[in-house]
């Protein structure tokens, strides 16, 4: 299929999502106990800018004239989400890199609380921007549900990756942060958001109904099989087992994380491609 925005855009949204998800979990742990979770926080603040930069570099290769990107810094269009997003992402990368440098060289506990908070606000805005980039185009199926769907998906994927890299502290975190319950809640929220998006497409207008038909006919397997079943329902089931002590949280966490990370990518990828297939 010939598309204007190919897999590099999907990867940018996915990697950017991993970055902001990881950062937000790192910021949360900084406020919980920056000394106890020092190495965790360091990894979070390192992964965040690297993932976002990697995504942006991929995106640059997709542009027709990548060197003109510098001009977006002074030719600002306030009605363009892409224009605003460039500033948000630049700001986030800058703050995240500074925090990563300070966390590695001086320790996570020495970081400034307000700066971490500012970074978290930027991370949140970048997370929302990923969805608004599509919503701003104003075509079905890139409707107003997308920013929420993408943001929650990013939280799940980024947090999962980071927790997988810190399995040593997983049991401690599971107890302190009630992770099985929290993950179940976030997964349920994402499931509701994705289903609401699809339901909205199926009912709203002629163009949205057409988008729903294409979703079912051309992307049905990706949507139901990978994004919903593998990416959300399977982890939800595994965490529910852990919640009711039918399995240990640690034993289900890695397979659930792999499923959530894969689901996040496939969900974003199918949304990007679906919008261009209408």
């Amino acid at each position: 299929m010939s598309v204007l925005w190919d897999i590099r855009v999907s990867l940018d949204l996915f990697l950017g999502g991993i970055g902001i998800g990881a950062f937000l979990l790192g910021a949360l742990l900084y406020y919980v106990d920056s000394e106890a979770y020092g190495s965790f926080i360091k990894k979070a603040f390192l992964i965040a800018p690297i993932a976002v930069i990697a995504g942006l570099l991929l995106l640059m290769t997709e542009l027709g004239r990548p060197f003109n990107v510098i001009k977006t810094l002074y030719e600002v269009n306030p009605t363009s989400f892409m224009s605003l997003g460039i500033f948000l992402q630049s700001g986030f990368i800058l703050v995240a890199l500074v925090l990563a440098f300070l966390a590695v060289t001086k320790g996570a506990e020495t970081l400034s609380g307000p700066v971490v908070y500012f970074g978290a606000v930027l991370a949140g805005l970048v997370g929302l921007y990923h969805g608004f980039l599509l919503t701003g185009i104003s075509i079905e199926p890139w409707n107003n549900a997308i920013p929420v769907v993408f943001f929650v998906s990013s939280l799940l994927a980024g947090a999962s990756l980071l927790l997988c890299l810190n399995l040593g502290q997983l049991d401690d975190l599971a107890t302190k942060l009630k992770l099985p319950l929290v993950m179940n809640l976030i997964l349920t929220l994402e499931l509701a958001a994705v289903l609401a998006w699809a339901y909205n497409l199926a009912l709203t207008s002629d163009s949205s109904k057409h988008a729903y038909e294409v979703l079912m006919q051309s992307f049905g397997m990706q949507f139901w099989g990978i994004s919903i079943l593998l990416g959300l329902v399977v982890p939800l089931g595994l965490f529910t087992l852990a919640l009711f002590k039918k399995a240990s949280f640690k034993s289900v966490f890695v397979p659930a994380s792999v499923a959530m990370i894969a689901g996040s990518f496939f969900l974003k990828n199918l949304v990007v491609y679906l919008g261009q297939s209408i």
């Binding site: 027709g64 990107v69 001009k71 363009s80 104003s138």
Partner: protein, 237 residues
Amino acid sequence: MANKVKCGMIIDLHRCVGCGGCDLACKSENNTPVGIDWASHKVETYGVFPDTKYEHVPTLCNHCEDAPCIRVCPTKAMHKDNKGMVIHDPSICIGCKSCILADPYKVISYNQQSAFLDYVTDDSRIVKGGTFSKKELSEASNAPFPNFNVDRGADGYEAVRKKGTVEKCSFCDHRVADGLAPACVVACPADARIFGDLNDPKSEIVKLLKTYKPTVLLPEKGTKPKVFYIRSFSNKS
């Protein structure tokens, strides 16, 4: 204070004979290659025999009042000029293609290829010693090569279209700046295209809009197009 100039176009579908002269005039004027059509047309046959209709509708950029392409452009490369025309500035375009995705009329194209330079680079001959190469022919005749347009290249406009940017109908702004009508308007053998100032009550375009009830493409999109169609044969709308 006099109203600002706001350019628009009427396409009179009773006069249009569907010859495609506008499409060709645009290609000639703006040097667009195969696959990129700033001016085009759509044809549709509908109904059930014997009550069938054939419709030929010339299409081009609608130079919308509320242009989605302008809204999404991250650098203001797509912008409105002082005559209300939606113009693209390739020098600041990053080639993100957001405008193409946002454009409901699908009249913006992405230029993936370098300019066609055969006539300045190709020195191969079909019959060695017997025929001119394209390069020799171009040099001997002192003719501009096909994708280089002297008019288009004047007054700060770029003569050679750039790879990696988008492009679309400009209402021939380079001609309008010189007091001329767009090439498609001049080329139309049936005078089906009327170009003028929508803010000038004495202009022909305003008079025609008052005389005939105009339609626009995809009115439900709310983009307020400035290309109007009058006297449609269609009874669909």
